[in-house]
Symmetry: C2
Subunit: 334 residues, 2 copies
Amino acid sequence: MAKGIIKLKNAPAILCAASVVGKHESDGPLGALFDFHDKDDRFGQSTWEKAEAEMQHMALNLAMSKNKISITDIDAIFAGDLMNQCISSTYGLIAHDAPFMGLYSACSTAAEALILSGMTVNAGYFKRTASVTSSHNCSAERQFRTPVEYGGQRTPTSQWTVTGSAAFIIADDEGRHPRITEVMLGMTVDYGITDANNMGAAMAPAAADTMIRYFESSGLGPSAFDLIVTGDLGFEGHSIVLDLMSTKGYDLSGNYNDCGLLIYNRSSQDMHAGGSGCGCSAVVLASYLLKLIRDGELRDVLFIGTGALMSPLSVQQGGSIPGIAHLVRIKGDA
Amino acid sequence: MAKGIIKLKNAPAILCAASVVGKHESDGPLGALFDFHDKDDRFGQSTWEKAEAEMQHMALNLAMSKNKISITDIDAIFAGDLMNQCISSTYGLIAHDAPFMGLYSACSTAAEALILSGMTVNAGYFKRTASVTSSHNCSAERQFRTPVEYGGQRTPTSQWTVTGSAAFIIADDEGRHPRITEVMLGMTVDYGITDANNMGAAMAPAAADTMIRYFESSGLGPSAFDLIVTGDLGFEGHSIVLDLMSTKGYDLSGNYNDCGLLIYNRSSQDMHAGGSGCGCSAVVLASYLLKLIRDGELRDVLFIGTGALMSPLSVQQGGSIPGIAHLVRIKGDA
């Protein structure tokens, strides 16, 4: 058990999910699968931070509406985002009158929220929980790097913070749904990366660490799964994971992908190394991956949220960028 | 169950705890009870942020050493702090090689960590967890208000962010220990307070909301407990809670206190409305309150962590300061 796999015997259901995105995400290959998008990324708000909060508000409302659930049916919300003091979650969900647990695990927060939702529903503490996360390109860029309006040059390894929010309703429900059967908590891994424009390299070792712990503990190899998917490593991090895993004797070349690669079209959209952010893995799972699982095209998936635990201040003070990767095993109920 | 009390049937033990504080906390009435203090608040580090991280590192090491536990005995760490992107927890605990769940619930993070530790140990997912939180006066003041070196005038309602960190080891253990018997998650409450120098007023309605939900669900009144203690409301917030609860018919005058009042000496220390911060409730519980529970002087305590979910940016954009309050019921095992 210790530092290993946590089996969720009751296999909590992912009852429903919803995704809300911005223009670039809507223009990407998964565009038709998102529940709502806004062409100017403002969502009717006067600031980027308020726009991000509004996305969380909409995502949770949309997810609940899909199963005709009201907020009184939700026993707990697990939520987080990238903003200082997680204000997108606070303000976005303040109208949703439910017990609230704030989380911070950088871009892996969606996976952390699903882990805690899965564990608490599986144990019978809650009948239904909501897991809500978000990121917004304009609020994130001005907080972590420079305001988008400044027009700074981007490096080839830089990723594009996804404008998006997703909400998942995890429930003790007997119907046919995708189910969370196992979870594994991430451990902080620090390879000494200090370049805030190369998040993929900072997070890749954490993803490999979690995969290796999972494969060693379970006795299963990569081929046991229809898909192994990381959260937002992008081209740089995806390629590093393939190399790191290869040196450990694991061949991931057949069934490993990354949400940061899936969300944009590399040839027609200028997103450099791919998507990133708290919303990236969340909206790809909520739209594309859960659809494939429901349709029976994927039966067994390792969803591995990846996060870079940095702040602008820690980088200015010479700190490295540690990574973390939380694992959620999702099976189809076909 | 919904939005109510979660009973922890196995009553996880608070196996041990440790506290690390700065000079002012050491000079206060609880000074002799803290495990370690540093006279210049720097803890041997070159920046205030690194000093805060070092406090978390020391607090967890001290807590583990009290029961001769090594990090390989810890199945999960639940940790958080007030810094942007929770860097005190990331960097402070990076040397502790254990599964890591990052939390953010402002100054109520210690209670949130104890809730999640209690729930996961009670369910048998983990044998032992660590709950670690911190705040540092100098890192918090320069992030949320102005750098201490600037020497700004403080308002009468302003509180003093506690320099302190505490770690708690929660365990499935049969010995005689204080035990977590019930928890209740907080709900975000917004009374429209916009003054970042009056946190007590912003958090008090959330504390009252949680108390009322608890008393109504449990059928117990305030007199059932030896002590009801909030996290960091200070004089202003403490007095507001007494008033709010009185209007609802609950008399708290006999057994209600606040960690922000306990930690400093109001007559000899110039701390205005009292202590606050992620470390405030954590170090008071880890030192003073757990001692009274172990000694049999307190047998049944409602520990209610209080948090103000604001950021400087949200205040600048005209946002109000919502509050939240998480409840942990701790009983002596005498």
